[in-house]
Amino acid sequence: MQRRQSSKHSKQPLRVHDSNQTDLSAWRKEGSINTEKTVQNQQSPSDDSKHNSLEQAVRFFEKVQDRVSLKKSEGLQKHLSTVESIGLERGLPPEVFDPLLTVALSGKLADTVNTRLLKSLVPASVIPESSVVSSVSWLCVSKCTSNVQLLFLRWLITMFDFIDRKEQLHALYGFFFSFIHDEKLCPYVCHLLYLLTKKENVKPFRVRRLLDLQAKTGMQPHLQALLSLYKVFRPELMSITLPGKMKTYFKNSEAPWKAAINAVRRRNQANSPISQALCLGTTQPQSRKRKWNAQLIIPASSANAQNLVGNSEKNSANDFFPVEQLQAFTQLVENIHCLEFPSQMGSVLTNPLLLHYMNCIKDESIYLRLYYWMGQTLQEECTWCVVENSQYEQEFKDFLEIIYKAECFLQEGFSSCEEFLCRSLPLWDGSCCRSQILRLMSWIPLSSFSEMKSHICDPLAQLFFTSSLYFKCSVLECLKELLQNWLNWHVVRLDSESDYQFRSLNTTLSGLVDGIAELIHFVGWISTVALRLENNCTFLLYFILDFYEIVCDMYLKYNLPLLIMPPAGVFYPALLSMDSVSLNQLCYIMYRYRTNLVAAKENELTKKKKQQFKFSSHTYQEYNQYIIAMVGCLWTSNVFQKDNHPQGVRLDDELLKKTGVQEFKNSFNIVYHPAMMGYAAHFLQQACPDDPTFNFSLIKGKKWNWYLDYLYAQGLEGLKLFVESSINRVSQASQNKARNVEV
């Protein structure tokens, strides 16, 4: 049951991620189930085994009757170290506190064992009050040594806030008070009483006892603390004057557990990015190695304090809807006229409602405020630019993730983020926060890209060439996203502006076209090199062709007057690929190029008015060269003669004969192509089950058509579209090819 649940939950972030942009309900839901999720997520198989060993250990301690020597009993050693490691690492579940406290305080075992047990009692969530109460009863029967008593009190003070309820503990006030005469315990008892004291606990006899004690021992800070608290509650009982505020009343007793509590808290919160963000807001500054203000905090949304206090010229403070109360989308809609941004703009990042609001309000100061805050935070926290920051990589990752999500939501990049990328990319090792950095890169706006090209592309290319295949694919993926974002942005702009205005802005359109062309050429270049470095790896080719699937459709799908053919270094490896997937993808891409180019040509011919952007004849030329090579290769078997691309595969017959391949002419047609031969063999098996020789030359005439149908049925849609569009099958293909091919 638990397993099933956890797998269900682990899908959730994925879903939320996919719907970053609009799904408001997902965000709200996630916030509410968040706490259960963190607990459940921890139940991994290795956790289960640990859980079992903890259970065994607890059972062992429950059964212990007599004093067992730690040195002699291996079982005790084992179980004790189990409790220690689990307690200090991930914290103990509530149910084990009762048996373990009982063992530690009952004096059955040696003091070293008791001490070690107590020191490892760190709660994962809460400590049940009942276990504390029963351990106090053990304390009162004095079975344990004073050292253990002392340690227990210190433990109790440290863990006070983790105890789930405190009513019964309050009822034990008198018991605790009785320990005050123990010289050693007194300071800690006072501290505990200080935490417990309520007004009704302050009684004349207790005041008297304390004053007596003070008379005996002199002015002790812990006594003074308790006395001054008593005086606050019941000033009429105390006539003495107490000295002014002291620096510290109590010695810090939490030292043995402090690190463990922090580690457990950190570990448990690490499993959920949201709670991590919340905990960032509450962690104490002193836990960081650096000075004040150096930790990564996304501020909480809070109303602008200036409006609430002392703003005389605006008496409108009451008219504003406080951002803290903004919880639902309907509230946003109803109060949109009287909403104000929070005092710290950074807080909008984690608040989708405010991001909605930001989308509606076009005010430059919003972006400027965000720009300053984000810019400084990114610089300060960058794990590879700031030397001693590397241990906070996870925090930084989460921060980048939050920024990325906000960018997806707003559908635009933040300028401080671009600047950060420009500054830090030259220093980046390509592995730290990789996916976050690459994703942020996909939101660089086109306008700044041209001026930042050298800052982004050069370091990226260097990393690209020297990194793993996987990195190369990730970069290509992110550049594809980048192109997609630019094109979307362009389409939205086209929609929102009338035709007339648009033409008056044609300078920016040409800028846009130039920028996009630059990116495509960059990708073409790195792809060519990468294919050679990686031996035309199919996996890499897939990502490259994926990119060109967008490029080939820019004219029709995004209304952008630009088409760029892939370089020969991409085209030929795809055409001669060993894999039918790549070949099929290439066929589809070439089909889309054809459709786009034909449409462009038609528009050019029909529209009287002069078009400002025409495809250069070079594009058509290049397309024709490719299509001749492709048809010659796959269909007419004359690629070695007809290919006229300078980087193509035209080869002399003499040279080809020297290779010793007999049927060299048709060795790349759809039957013999290494990517297709598997299909051909299967086809032959089905078409001529009696002929075991795999005589591929049988596939011709009628069988050729059957074979094509067979290929289409195998899902080679791209091939189908390509053949149907680019090859005229009514007449004999070889004769009329040229006319059909040239657009």
Binding site: L242, K245, Y249, N293, N304, S343, L368, S424
Partner: protein, 374 residues
């Protein structure tokens, strides 16, 4: 004056090596009087384009040296400087600044800050500090010493009319014994300022106030409280401003060149040797007049300083040191520069010693703060 004589004099009692963990201090008494190598180098490497001061790998927006040349009295942008403010801020009003260690911060522009409301701000900040101090205390115990906050304006501390007047924040402890006002004890002070910070202010909108440099003196817990309040209230961002060794060399050269009325203590450079199992600091002191003579010989065109000149100045000092101690200071890290004008530590701590050149020093610091913000 002959070059060798200058350096010889410096060495006679001014140069010393100091090892940090109580090492011995060899006095450099015997020195050859003639030393011309450094001076020859000074003659050759001049006249090239001024470099830029900015960290490697950073996009430097504003050429820092434009400002630096401005400091020498030639204002490149033709900015009108407030009469009198150029050389001397009012010594009385700025006296509190001198001879204290100030920790430097850069601050992004303050949103919706208004100097008309300084009193209100003081009250709000006081309430904020009181609230923060009580956090985590279930019941307040004992007599709490109240913190009084005063926020005021320092109109003298700016370079031109375009600069916003500096803002001073002071925290003082109300005495518990007697409630008399006179018994307040100043525990913390900090001030925001901008001297010739128009590089930043021209780019921001009306709602923003540019006071990019913040200096704090006092317990860091107070800095944290005040800073947090400002960040919350004016949506700004504080960052520690560290001074790179390169900038420290500029400070050494610039401050050496400033005229001072009274003879002041020696210029002292503090170096730390990296990659040693035990920290080793080297202190290098030079008589002010000697350093000035060296700088005057290196620096040619009035009103313009190049990176090259600064390098030559430092190289001369280094080669002199190497001749006597066989230590290449260029391989160590410059961590602190002290002159009669001010002393600056690379951790971003500064101490002003003269009100005379205060504005000039602040101008450089403002520039550094702006380059960190942008």
């Amino acid at each position: 004056m002959a070059a060798g004589a200058v350096l010889g004099a410096a060495g006679a009692d001014g140069t010393r090596v100091q090892t940090a963990p109580g090492g011995e201090r060899p006095e450099a008494g015997a020195m050859e009087p003639a030393e011309g190598a450094g001076w020859a180098a000074a003659g050759t490497g001049r006249g090239s384009v001024a470099g830029r001061i900015s960290g490697a790998g950073q996009l430097s927006r504003g050429p820092l040296l434009k400002k630096l040349s401005g400091q020498l009295g030639v204002s490149p942008s033709g900015r009108a400087l407030l009469p009198g403010s150029w050389e001397n801020a009012d010594p009385q009003k700025t006296a509190f600044i001198l001879r204290k260690q100030w920790t430097l911060y850069s601050v992004t522009p303050l949103y919706k800050f208004s100097s008309a409301h300084l009193k209100d701000y003081g009250r709000q900040l006081g309430a904020f500090i009181a609230a923060e101090k009580q956090k985590g205390l279930a019941v307040e115990v004992g007599v709490e010493l109240g913190i009084k906050v005063a926020v005021s304006s320092l109109p003298d501390l700016r370079g031109s009319d375009q600069d916003h007047a500096a803002v001073l924040v002071q925290l003082s402890l109300k005495s518990s014994a007697s409630r008399k006002k006179t018994e307040e004890k100043l525990v913390w002070s900090g001030w925001f300022c901008s001297v010739a910070g128009d590089d930043l202010s021209v780019n921001v909108l009306e709602d923003f106030t540019c006071l990019p440099l913040f200096l704090a003196n006092g317990a860091e817990s107070y800095t944290s409280l005040v800073g947090t309040w400002f960040q919350k209230t004016f949506d700004c961002c504080f960052r520690r401003l560290v001074i790179s060794p390169l900038i420290l060399t500029w400070m050494a050269a610039l401050w050496t060149g400033y005229k001072v009325d009274k003879t002041s203590s020696a210029m002292e450079l503090l170096f730390s040797v990296p990659c040693l199992p035990q920290p080793l600091d080297i202190s290098y002191a030079i008589h002010t007049e000697d350093a000035k003579a060296l700088w005057d010989a290196v620096q040619k065109t009035p009103g313009e300083i190049t990176q090259e000149e600064v390098d030559v100045f430092m190289d001369c000092l280094y080669s002199h040191f190497h001749r006597h101690f066989k230590i290449h200071l260029s391989a160590t890290k410059l961590v602190k520069v002290s002159t009669g004008i001010a002393s600056a530590h690379c951790d971003g701590i500064i101490k002003f010693l003269q009100s005379q050149h205060l504005i000039r020093v602040l101008m450089l610091l403002t520039e550094l703060a702006i380059s960190q913000i942008q």
